[in-house]
Symmetry: C2
Subunit: 377 residues, 2 copies
Amino acid sequence: MATQRIIDFLAQNRPEGPCLVVDLDVVQRNYETFTHALPDSRIFYAVKANPAPEVLSLLANLGSNFDTASVVEIEMAMAAGATPDRISFGNTIKKERDIARAHELGIRLFAVDCVEEVEKIARVAPAARVFCRILTDGEGAEWPLSRKFGCAPSMALEVLEHAHHLGLHAYGVSFHVGSQQCNLDAWDKALGEAASIFNTLADRGIQLSMVNMGGGFPTRYLRDVPKTHAYGAAIVDSLHTHFGNHMPETIIEPGRGMVGDAGVIKAEVVLISRKHADDPIRWVYLDIGKFGGLAETMDEAIRYPITTIHDGGDVAPCVLAGPTCDSADVMYEKKPYDLPIALTIGDEVLIEATGAYTTTYSAVAFNGFSPLASYVI
Amino acid sequence: MATQRIIDFLAQNRPEGPCLVVDLDVVQRNYETFTHALPDSRIFYAVKANPAPEVLSLLANLGSNFDTASVVEIEMAMAAGATPDRISFGNTIKKERDIARAHELGIRLFAVDCVEEVEKIARVAPAARVFCRILTDGEGAEWPLSRKFGCAPSMALEVLEHAHHLGLHAYGVSFHVGSQQCNLDAWDKALGEAASIFNTLADRGIQLSMVNMGGGFPTRYLRDVPKTHAYGAAIVDSLHTHFGNHMPETIIEPGRGMVGDAGVIKAEVVLISRKHADDPIRWVYLDIGKFGGLAETMDEAIRYPITTIHDGGDVAPCVLAGPTCDSADVMYEKKPYDLPIALTIGDEVLIEATGAYTTTYSAVAFNGFSPLASYVI
């Protein structure tokens, strides 16, 4: 999955230490694929997936909107050229003073999932648009989706009514089917719930406008995933089923799906050893691990493809671990990872499809190691 | 556990955002407690637990030695005033060029757990002292100890013999009983294994000198833990049992036990909500979570004491979560955390015993949030 541009960059620059290289051409292609797959939806790129200024500028120039998690991310999106009307404050957990700051910056679209958050927004961002996130079960998603965000659909009715009564614009409903979602039907159930909320509130005199369908679009790691246009077709079908001739405005928030396959991490084999003389499993230690950017290997959730110069030769199972003195810094052990028998200490490896959720996850200085370096080309 | 000095500092300075405050008086008292509990052991502070320059300087002045995980940590210990003979490169996973750099800086004591690492050291740090880490089962430890570090005792014989034959000084054996170890007997079994390695190698003409007994000394979180002098007495007993009149030089490497209870994190309640109208569990969202410094809540391993201004009133179970848009950023859910019913959005809370393994674990910029601020007083 490493593009020729990435391979050439690494060959010419030979950066020291582990680093991520992101190819903007892939990001652009992904953006265009989303616009074709869901031509009637506005794209709000999930900045948290990779907030590199070059990525944000490219997407701002292409016309993307931005889903942000904090005031800092709002400021980064604006610095990249996005006007406030193209930015959503999509975190349901916000300090009131951060909502006020966002409002000062011109942000008028906020996520909520409870009346307490609605009240904060009513106090410091009067007349703003709010959308209420509802819970989904996340079935079929590879990265765990907890009950952290969203409320039961029955409670969403109250939340949006409360917003309306406080003078806010009860604007819509959002959901998230779970990150790295490979089940095309996952959107259908949530869209059914959303339509039901639209109908119930219409009966109470509140006209919602928008469905935010969140992210969840996968990156290809080791297993094949459905193509973006297949997601698009399934989603458009479900929208027609549930909304008929009254199609709402729709938003999608791709993060992983936008940048995941655009980046590759170059790493180095620091040590290969065994735990006892006739141990069948080798331990392979890289110069990057769970605390250096590969946090999504937590519970072995995301299984990245790894390529080496020995690919094609015989392989054997390895435990893959990071370089820190933390015993929890082990990436793949329950299900060992097959790597070439010829792999040697000092070899470089490429950890593919690592453009999303890597740089910003890395620890600031654990064990004295620097955060993951990043090059955007 | 927050000292009056910490409480006064927070009251006077009212720092914005989540922050750790470390009281150096507590660190000093912990250092002195270790020296009294194990007067014949040299203390190598595990820098990774909290590398704040003020902590390192205090310990350097008190006479501590330093266990380091990387060249950066070596440089930090030296900047704090430690001479190279007081520094161990205790990470078993090292790039050869980092070993060479450490050797240039004057470091002569290195950890190993396989012949491959011995060979690196022999090439670039000739005649250095090496100690071989052996595997222990970690039973009784609260923070998981994997098989990541160390080798079977039978393999340690080969590793140390190989070092000897390559001209290195086969210096000793190390083990780690698991972090936050509350079982006083945990050291006994490992010391028995160490003594057996000493004896076997003596028969082969190699005289080992040192046993590095690692860390594992706990911090008091919610449950009582044995006192340091109880650990000391148990360890000294075991040393006499296994080594008799031939007592080795010994080292301990406290990290959590040195700084854990010296620090307190001040955080703020961002949101309190429920997931449906009659949900018995409240969700309490703080402005710090798993990616902002509380990584050790992973799998709900470490359960920090939390104090609020409402303590003493009625409590009810809460799910405790962080402020990021990551669904995995939930700290206590499987076993909900009891917090006062009177707790309100905007309240400050103190997360106690957070002096170790917090600042450096925090993500560099996840969701745009800054790494955990730290004040050492």
